[in-house]
Symmetry: C2
Subunit: 233 residues, 2 copies
């Protein structure tokens, strides 16, 4: 791990004294705004209103952006760690509650595996009507990393291999992942995306993934570090 990486990470891994109540209150305020922007993103892709309307909406969007920018962070959101051990990586591109790009995945974790049911709409398209192959990779990278962390083995992605078994339709999907094995600082995780069928038949695997996650140096040096605090790496 190059020194620059640790410096960058540490500079954005902020401890604060937010209470659980404050965290939940903020999530309940900004989460719905991100959800509304997610709908706006979808509407821009699919709209067929006339040019004058589009131009007026654009001006209004710019005005709203200016209002939000009246007070804000200089850089990216990073990750905050509260005194009660809760991590907020709310800018995360897959699970970030503030991030309209994130579906966002609400991952169910246990010590053996993680699962998540989610839906991908028009904004995640690659081939017509299908999930972009790279979006499947994005989801699986997060899922495998979460599985490693859920097993107490957080890490940076070292390698990731994806096998596309069949096309993934836009719509209702599931992702599953678990740890395969551990070798020193390397955690081998595997997972898959399944497509839910409209006819109610069993979901079928569309993409399979294997990944190696490397335990970062600071986690090796501080084995007592609670697992909850390292989800965000």
């Amino acid at each position: 791990m190059p020194p620059r990486l640790n410096e960058t990470m540490r500079s954005r891994f902020v401890r604060d004294d937010a209470t659980d109540e404050e965290i939940e209150h903020e999530a309940a305020t900004v989460g719905p705004l991100a959800a509304s922007v997610r709908e706006l993103v979808d509407a821009v892709i699919r709209t067929e209103v006339d040019e004058a309307e589009i131009e007026d909406v654009r001006r209004q969007v710019d005005a709203l952006t200016a209002r939000l920018r009246a007070k804000g962070l200089e850089g990216s959101y990073g990750a905050r760690l509260s005194s009660t051990g809760r991590v907020r990586n709310w800018g995360n591109a897959v699970i970030g509650v503030r991030n309209a790009l994130a579906p966002p995945l609400e991952i169910v974790r246990d010590s053996e595996r993680i699962t998540c049911d989610f839906t991908l709409g028009a904004a995640y398209e690659g081939p017509p009507g299908l999930v972009h192959g790279g979006v499947s990779a994005l989801i699986l990278d997060q899922a495998l990393g979460e599985a490693a962390a859920a097993g107490g083995r957080p890490g940076m992605t070292g390698t990731l291999t994806l096998r596309y078994c069949e096309a993934t339709p836009l719509g209702r999907l599931r992702v599953e992942a678990e740890i395969d094995r551990v070798e020193g600082v390397k955690t081998f995780a595997r997972g898959r995306i399944l497509a839910c069928r409209e006819d109610g038949s069993d979901p079928t695997v569309t993409v399979e993934a294997e990944g190696v996650f490397i335990l970062p140096r600071w986690a090796r040096e501080k084995p007592e570090h609670p697992a909850a605090t390292v989800d965000a790496i």
Copy 2:
């Protein structure tokens, strides 16, 4: 390739009679709206304005979404093919001009390789201050597929393997890709992401990728199909 896939693709691969002038005009109208929404996405992640302001902005966003939804497509954007051979896959998650989730990449294609300089901000974050590993995978899947298509060998992703050499900082980046070799219906492509350094030194490779892209049946059956029409698969 399962029959269902081809049916899905064909149902959304629409030929229309849009002229080049009409296409450029539409891109010049809707592209800036998507760009404005991209800024809004970023502002939502980074804002620190108070709760009342966030709730009011959310209501205004919902009103704008309703205006855009007054007339629109029922499903995803898919891909349109004009009579002059131009493809609009404008919902695409990486290059779609209508898609605020897409950076969007403006890819420079020649027959040997593709390149693209781009910038990733707060919405593409994984570890604090760094590009999400899955976002790098998303970018590289598109880039390798574009390289295959640029060489006249479009295809669906079969496998994709990523090697993370070092952390990718948010900021100015470059992606490059080219065809490695062709074996029957399989095209082997490879590529990499490079991080541009603030001190002006040479960009360094942060992620490497190899992928296999499978020539779809319809492209095998119609070898005279112009390459320009198949970028969108």
